[in-house]
């Protein structure tokens, strides 16, 4: 087996997310029907996206396994590969290998309330789980769902089309906030950790799932503790520099754990036992 | 007093007085006839300092790493030349770096010794006057140090003593023609030279020990590490490896102080000193420019003279 060989896929649709277009969502379809049928993943896993001749980048699968026939990736323009991806057009080819890593503990979360806390592009991995939980075939197995999501400015919010859909749902509570508003903005202004304190979810029978910039995570964790959440009620997903995605290239470890295999999803309980090297 | 005793005393005093926070020198290493850099912060640590023919790293590399501390650098002519270049390139100013000049009569070449011992690795070794004495389980050799010196030591040049804050003794490097090695290389026929270059470069594993040991390779991001875009491939492709070495040579044109640290650092014996010498001689003969010697000059490649004949453009 050559675990480095990607499956070929075609870009079906590209959705610009942010006003500056530094985040775009790519909807991709595997070229091979057999792969399309067999590729299965769980919320929280990632894949190595590649452009031949350019390179690879690990990207969370932001679509939910309940969405069939295609995969979605929300990509922020950062370096070589992600910039080249941003230049591509529908119909272009790319390579995908994966899915890699562990996943959100969505089975263990059944019967519980879930609070999603996302910042910026950090909503991408959460979205997979959100849409999984909100899918009609799964929704009844989870209690209350609330989502706190923030970005620097209204233009930096991602998945706006979907935020609207979540907003309209009766079974979901959505709090969208921005650090700084603009003329058109009538919503909430404030940092995510502060909004978390305002919303003040009860820790009883609740799990929180959070992802965002390090500084946000830091204060979110502090505030969750203030609200009485125990470390094992807090789930997060990490980013490390990766190459192989399969525990061989030696790049992504935190202590003895390889984030590409043992992660990227960890509970805060686990993180507290790991060296703070991320 | 012996040089080592003088050195220890001087270093201890500088640290005790608070003149510097750190003394960069050498101490006895863990392998026979080797030393290792010592970063001494207390008088007690400074008591381990040594300066002799087994000191073979260019200590000046550490100046670009300990940027915020006031440092005393134990300096032989190699380090002194580097300091001159550092001043010129604004890497170290005399008010942050003090040099403690130690005398040097040439470095022991580990490679020459290994050749001389035809593969036997000494289990113990010491210097005694002009003798290198080394031994294994059932053998002992007493060899004259002067037969075992580093190639860069022949014709080594000393910058003016005013560069030193304190000179503990006079350096007497072995006489010789610095360019002899280059001349030997240039006497070969073209194809032979190319073949020799290929043979050397083929061995390179791109570990970058040469670059990391070189005091003049201090770029925060080396061209060879650039990935946006990639300047030079990182595989074992021969032409990429050549590009790495040739570009490195070019970046050191008129800057290489010919300390030989890069050659000694290489774990697989790649020796491209002649490339650096070639550009060094060019700088000297065409522009009267001698890296590490003339503190007043501006860097060669940053100098423009209206009366430059610019023969190469015409």
């Amino acid at each position: 087996m050559n675990p480095y060989l990607p499956h070929l896929a075609t870009i079906d649709e590209i959705i610009p997310e942010t006003a500056s277009q530094d985040v775009k969502t790519f909807r991709v379809v595997f070229a091979d029907a057999a792969v399309r049928a067999s590729f299965s993943y769980e919320p929280g896993q990632f894949a190595e996206l590649s452009l031949l001749g350019v390179g690879e980048a690990p990207i969370s699968i932001t679509s939910s396994p309940t969405q069939r026939g295609y995969l979605e990736f929300a990509v922020k323009r950062a370096g070589v590969v992600t910039t080249a991806l941003h230049w591509s057009r529908p119909g272009d080819h790319l390579g995908i290998r994966g899915p890699y890593g562990n996943h959100f503990p969505y089975r263990e979360m059944e019967g519980k309330n879930i609070v999603f806390i996302g910042g910026g592009i950090g909503l991408a991995p959460l979205r997979s789980l959100i849409n999984y939980v909100l899918d009609p075939s799964n929704r009844s197995r989870y209690a209350a769902v609330s989502i706190i999501y923030g970005a620097r400015s209204p233009g930096d919010l991602v998945f706006k089309w979907e935020l609207d859909a979540w907003q309209r749902r009766q079974d979901t509570e959505l709090h969208v906030t921005v650090d700084r508003g603009d003329e058109g903005w009538t919503g909430r202004v404030g940092f995510v950790p502060q909004v978390l304190m305002d919303v003040a979810p009860s820790p009883a029978n609740t799990v929180t799932v959070t992802c965002g910039p390090p500084i946000m995570i830091k204060y979110v964790l502090e505030n969750l503790e203030k609200l009485g959440f125990a470390p094992d009620q807090i789930v997060t997903t990490l980013e490390m520099r990766m190459k192989c995605g399969i525990g061989k290239c030696g790049r992504c470890n935190i202590g003895s754990r390889y984030v590409c295999q043992d992660g990227p999803v960890f509970t805060y309980e686990q993180l507290r036992q790991m060296p703070a090297e991320y | 007093m012996s040089v080592n005793a003088l050195l220890r005393e001087t270093a201890a005093r500088l640290l005790a007085e608070g003149t510097v926070r750190l003394v960069v020198g050498w101490e006895k290493g863990t392998l026979p006839l080797r030393t290792t850099p010592l970063l001494a912060r207390t008088a007690e640590q400074a008591d381990r300092l040594v300066a002799d023919a087994t000191c073979d790293q260019n200590l000046a590399v550490y100046l670009t790493r300990f940027k915020d501390e006031k440092v005393a650098l134990v300096a032989r002519p190699c380090e002194a030349r580097t300091l001159v270049e550092y001043c010129r390139e604004h890497r170290a100013s005399p008010d942050r770096v003090l040099a403690i000049g130690v005398p040097c009569t040439g470095m022991l070449s580990r490679r020459a010794l290994e050749r001389r011992l035809s593969g036997r690795l000494p289990a113990a070794g010491r210097l005694e006057g002009d003798l290198v004495i080394c031994s294994g389980e059932d053998w002992e050799e007493r060899l004259p140090l002067t037969d075992l010196l580093e190639p860069v030591c022949y014709g080594c040049r000393l910058p003016g003593a005013d560069r030193y804050w304190r000179v503990l003794g006079e350096s007497r490097p072995p006489a010789g023609d610095r360019y002899a090695e280059l001349d030997r290389f240039r006497q070969m026929a073209g194809e032979e030279r190319y073949a020799a270059f290929c043979r050397a470069v083929e061995r390179c594993i791109r570990c970058y020990a040469c670059r990391q040991a070189c005091p003049m390779c201090y770029c925060p991001e080396c061209f060879s590490d650039r990935s946006a875009p990639t300047w030079v491939g990182s595989s074992d492709d021969l032409s990429d490896t050549m590009v790495f070495h040739l570009t490195r040579t070019l970046h050191l044109a008129g800057r290489c102080v010919d300390c030989g640290a890069c050659v000694r650092a290489c774990p697989v014996g790649v020796d491209l000193r002649h490339l650096h010498l070639r550009l060094g001689r060019e700088a000297e003969e065409r522009f009267a420019y001698r890296p590490g010697l003339d503190a007043a000059d501006r860097p060669l490649v940053a100098t423009f003279r209206p009366d430059d004949p610019e023969e190469f453009i015409r």
Binding site: M1, Y4, L5, L8, G53, G250, P275 | T36, E114, V268
Partner: protein, 347 residues
């Protein structure tokens, strides 16, 4: 695959026979031999007359390069009719013989195996070469001054990973198969059985080598390092380090690599090249954030990986005590000394 009951006992291989044997083996398998001395010692493909290595200790370059080369194509790609096509690198699983590696190098391969051949994502490029490889080792009669294999679970006459082990006696080698595969191979070469004196002589050679080895306090190091991530010992250990990759590229157990594309979108290759945790850029994110910002974190990673993280996952250290990193570090930053320093580490 350990030696079965019916394995052959030791046989005698005359020095004068060696070249004939190697030529014969080279006719049946890809044959790599340890050749060269000093900093040029390495494994090269056999050719008639190639000088076999004599020197003490291990070769400068490791046997891992045969199985995990510095650069290796993962696949090539080209465009045809506007569509990309991928051509996976050919798995090279033909017969392969490595002659003259030291016991430490063979053990090191056993430490790489679980990384490349883990059941979830077996890497056939590595695994293919390993699959049919016969490792013919040469016991150390004279360790190098930097060797410390016995302190990390090895032995100058260790058999782990080897299929056949040779011990140099005065005028011949004693060859012993240590696996069924080795036995079969050795049998095919037809040697005369060794007299009992030869076995005794070989035992003496090994014993002499063992006595020549220095001890390094690596026992219990895993446990001592547990929870010592934030210990002040790391603050100074790395200071002399230049941040090159000499110690990791020439370490037989280091396996970090990078994946890069070469060529254009129309045609090219995806390669894996060695990489090193000692390089500053190794963990640098595109955002500029770097979890291992300074030499301190990088040195800690190297040491912890070998003596704490790897043991945590695989039950033993990722160091076979070959002493290469000790010999080649340009600033003589000696791993043995680092280990000794860590011995005194208290909570």
């Amino acid at each position: 695959m350990r030696r079965g009951e019916a394995a052959v006992a030791g046989v005698i291989l005359e020095h004068s026979e060696l070249n004939r044997i190697l030529a014969h083996v080279a006719g049946q398998a890809r044959l790599w031999v340890a050749t060269g001395e000093g900093e040029e010692a390495a494994f090269l493909p056999y050719r008639p007359g190639i000088p076999l290595r004599r020197g003490p200790g291990p070769t400068r370059r490791t046997a891992k390069e045969i199985f995990f080369p510095r650069t290796e194509a993962l696949f090539t790609f080209h465009e045809a009719d506007g569509k990309p096509r991928l051509e996976p690198a050919k798995v090279d699983d033909g017969p392969l013989v490595v002659f003259g590696l030291r016991p430490c190098d063979a053990r090191a391969l056993c430490l790489l195996d679980p990384v490349f051949e883990d059941p979830l994502w077996p890497d056939r490029l590595y695994g293919g070469r390993r699959a049919r490889a016969i490792l013919v080792g040469m016991a150390c009669s004279q360790p190098s001054r930097a060797c410390f294999c016995t302190s990390v679970g090895g032995d100058p006459a260790g058999e782990e990973g080897l299929d056949v082990i040779l011990v140099a006696l005065d005028d011949a080698y004693l060859a012993r198969a240590t696996t069924d595969r080795g036995a079969e191979w050795l049998e095919g070469l037809g040697f005369s059985p060794a007299p009992p004196e030869a076995e005794a002589a070989a035992a003496r050679v090994a014993e002499t080598a063992r006595r020549a080895l220095a001890a390094v306090p690596a026992d219990g190091l895993k446990e001592r390092l547990d929870g010592r991530f934030e210990h002040p010992v790391w603050d100074r250990l790395h200071e002399r380090c230049l941040g090159c990759a000499a110690c990791t590229y020439l370490c037989p157990t280091c396996h970090c690599f990078d994946i890069v594309d070469e060529g254009g979108p129309g045609e090219g290759v995806r390669l894996r090249n060695w990489d090193s945790c000692m390089f500053a850029l190794f963990t640098l994110h595109a955002s500029g954030h770097n979890p291992r910002m300074t030499g301190k974190e990088r040195m800690r990673q190297r040491i912890m990986h070998k003596f704490n993280y790897y043991p945590e996952r695989q039950g033993r250290p990722a160091c076979v005590g070959c002493g290469r990193c000790v010999e080649i570090c340009p600033v003589n930053l000696d791993l043995r000394q680092v280990i000794a320093e860590l011995e005194g580490v208290e909570a």
